[in-house]
Symmetry: C2
Subunit: 425 residues, 2 copies
């Protein structure tokens, strides 16, 4: 008998039929003797729809009001799931973020959880109810509704799991686990049975969309075991935990991310303080600079390149327009056709040859590396977007990640999985 | 300078465009120096849509969950209106029923307001914000969301008006006021400048759908002045207040209601306790019996007729099926083609001739009266549905209610008004 928090994403609760299926899963857990608390996202595309309703009225909606608006999505799905459980003869009770005791700071639209007081959820469990908690939301000190940012329901689930001391926090989605790389890109991608928090965080921030980074950070901090699994099958997914006791692989997975752009500033005088001026101006404009490459100077003139999310490009361009003449630079150009490919693995710390192997693997395949950045357990390389698939595949093979058969652990075809993953993003 | 509560119904906030129009109206009030608190219903048909979503999952959804589900509709519209006000350069802040201090009992789906604590609304007003309050909802002692029943947003508005001691509670809808009768039925219906609470209550309960009865009851109890007016024009509507100081009309208006049915039980033994048995059984089945007619007995056998809402007919039939043989009655029959026509007026109390005049007016027009019920200020008569329009028209004329010209106070055509009224119900 285990105490389980089970979180279901928007696709899993997108229709009355699917909500009934979620209810069936929860009831099956109860019937095999487990205790369960459900956490739900908003139905399907509800959050996007509410967002466009807001934008039709106010292109810069006040953050406080936007949070209250968006939080209604999960309040709808939580009540419907509770109704489905009751219709199936089980006692259920829904709880808003407020009632589930999710207290946050007042950073509306991306609030951080400050405290968790799950008394009502615990009492409902003791009284034999299946508690259903609205994900994505909490309240601040004023009692105003806050939201935790995109994917925040994962964080809610982990926080509830910690609060009630659950054995595991199961995250159900349309992806059946964490893969060594994106199966759409490398059909020989292999589902991992387990992965460490650190590796998962690097994979998440390097573009793997299975779990929200903040949920994994929270889980690492409070040692909550996550089980990322499919809402559409009973097969085990991937456990994310402190000591996964995996086979001693140096590399856990390959992530790739095509959401960044590369900006190159041409003809910059190579003098003290110029780079600092550029990047502090970008930081002030909230441009999230990822990698920086400064070329070797010729005649006191150099180029500076950096990458940033495409979403930040407009702000980056207007910032550069403002300071180009001030720093004495000639011009800048934008390259959107790039991809960042990242090799992730806690084992890298103790294996010095990873970078060399990665560079030579890409070199053998005539893939040009445009920029490089590293962390102790991650090596990221920017390549031409056109070569991204090839880069992922050859690295996946070179680091011994290929599975024997394609999708051995699922009955779904590669196309079906690809379609599912596409939909889930 | 006045302190105004302005309530907007679902039709008035049905789209982003209409919400922007509501914002403009509120801003116009501010700019002429008034202070204003807005109360909103859910957008358009939202409540119905949420209800059918619930029914797709659970045909008898738990009341607590249903309330939480339905309450999201007003939370969406309140945030959108606040966003629209902010987009127009005004400071606005939305409040849920909870935050607006609407405390209710725990009768989910039709909770009654127990207390009103408007501190946050008052503070927001003082700080220069336009508060926007979600109608229709409150919280019970447990902190669970309750709803006030259909049309409950009117009650919220009146309660807020009382709580902040507003000068007037303006109820904006797609109907431009209270008419002496339904303009669709009698084109010479006249809009009233003012009406007393008592007359309004009788008109409401006799089928006039302009205002929710409970809102009027609350207003009468706490002496809140209501102004029912059009969301689509600046013309004055109808004031509902204690002492309307109207012209001394005996009769204020004629209501009609086609939502009732007549049930006749044939061949009932005329013995003590039979009627009591029938009506206590119906009461136990929650059948809302309106009028009762017992015919003159012949040979110890009689007929008993009663009217009830068509919505209660199923329960009435199964109740009668169960007791028919027990009471020794032969059969029952149902007549759906009836209409209740009511003459309403506080002046009736001191004018003894009203009934006689009504009966003779209908008699002159060969309209048969099937049943009669009275209150001190209302006379209701059941007639054949086919004769209802004629009955309303001839009574309207006979009691001097006809306006000189048709729709003198509006630029809309009779068809447009009829279409609007149809839509608003």
């Amino acid at each position: 008998m285990a105490l389980i928090v089970a979180k279901f994403g928007g696709t899993s609760v997108a229709s009355p039929e699917r909500i009934k299926n979620v209810a069936k899963r929860l009831i099956a857990m109860r019937e095999r003797g487990d205790e369960v608390v459900a956490v739900v996202s908003a139905m399907g595309k509800t959050t996007d729809e509410l967002m466009s309703l807001a934008n039709a009225i106010n292109t810069a909606p006040p953050a406080r009001e936007l949070d209250r608006l968006l939080s209604t999505g999960e309040q709808v799905s939580m009540t419907l799931l509770a109704m489905a459980l009751e219709a199936a003869g089980h006692r259920a009770m829904s709880f808003t973020g407020r009632q589930a005791g999710i207290r946050t700071n007042d950073f509306h639209n991306k609030a951080k959880i400050a405290q968790v007081h799950n008394d009502r959820v615990k009492k409902a469990l003791e009284a034999g109810y299946i508690p259903v908690v609205a994900g994505f939301q909490g309240i601040d000190e004023l009692g105003d509704i806050t939201t935790l940012g995109r994917g925040g329901s994962d964080t809610t689930a982990v926080a509830i799991a910690w609060g009630i001391d659950a054995d595991v926090c199961e995250i159900y989605s349309d992806v059946d686990g964490v893969y060594t790389t994106d199966p759409r890109v490398a059909p020989r991608a292999r589902k991992l049975d387990a992965i460490s928090y650190d590796d998962m965080l690097e994979l998440s921030s390097a573009g793997s969309g299975v779990l929200q980074s903040r949920a994994v950070e929270f889980a690492r901090k409070w040692n909550v075991v996550i089980h990322a699994r499919s809402a559409f099958s009973d097969a085990n997914g991937t456990y994310i935990k402190e000591d996964p006791q995996m086979e001693e692989a140096v590399i856990t997975g390959i992530a790739h991310d095509t959401s960044e752009v590369k900006v190159t500033i041409r003809g910059v005088p190579d003098s003290t303080g110029v780079a600092a001026r550029v990047f502090s101006a970008l930081a002030e404009s909230m441009v999230n600079v990822d990698m920086i490459i400064q070329n070797i100077s010729e005649d006191g003139i150099t180029d500076i390149s950096f990458t940033c999310p495409e979403a930040d490009l407009g702000r980056a361009e207007s910032t550069l327009d403002g300071i180009l003449s001030e720093i004495g630079a000639r011009e800048y150009e934008v390259d959107k056709d790039i991809a960042k490919v990242s090799i992730v693995g806690t084992g890298m710390k103790s294996s010095p040859g990873v970078s060399a192997k990665a560079f030579s693997t890409l070199g053998d395949d005539r893939i040009n590396i445009l920029a490089i950045s590293t962390s102790p357990i991650r090596l990221s390389m920017v390549v031409d977007a056109a070569q991204a698939t090839q880069a992922v595949q050859c690295l996946h093979t070179a680091f011994g990640l290929d599975s024997e058969s394609v999708f051995e652990e699922t009955q779904l075809s590669a196309e079906e999985i690809a379609a599912k993953m596409q939909k889930g993003r």
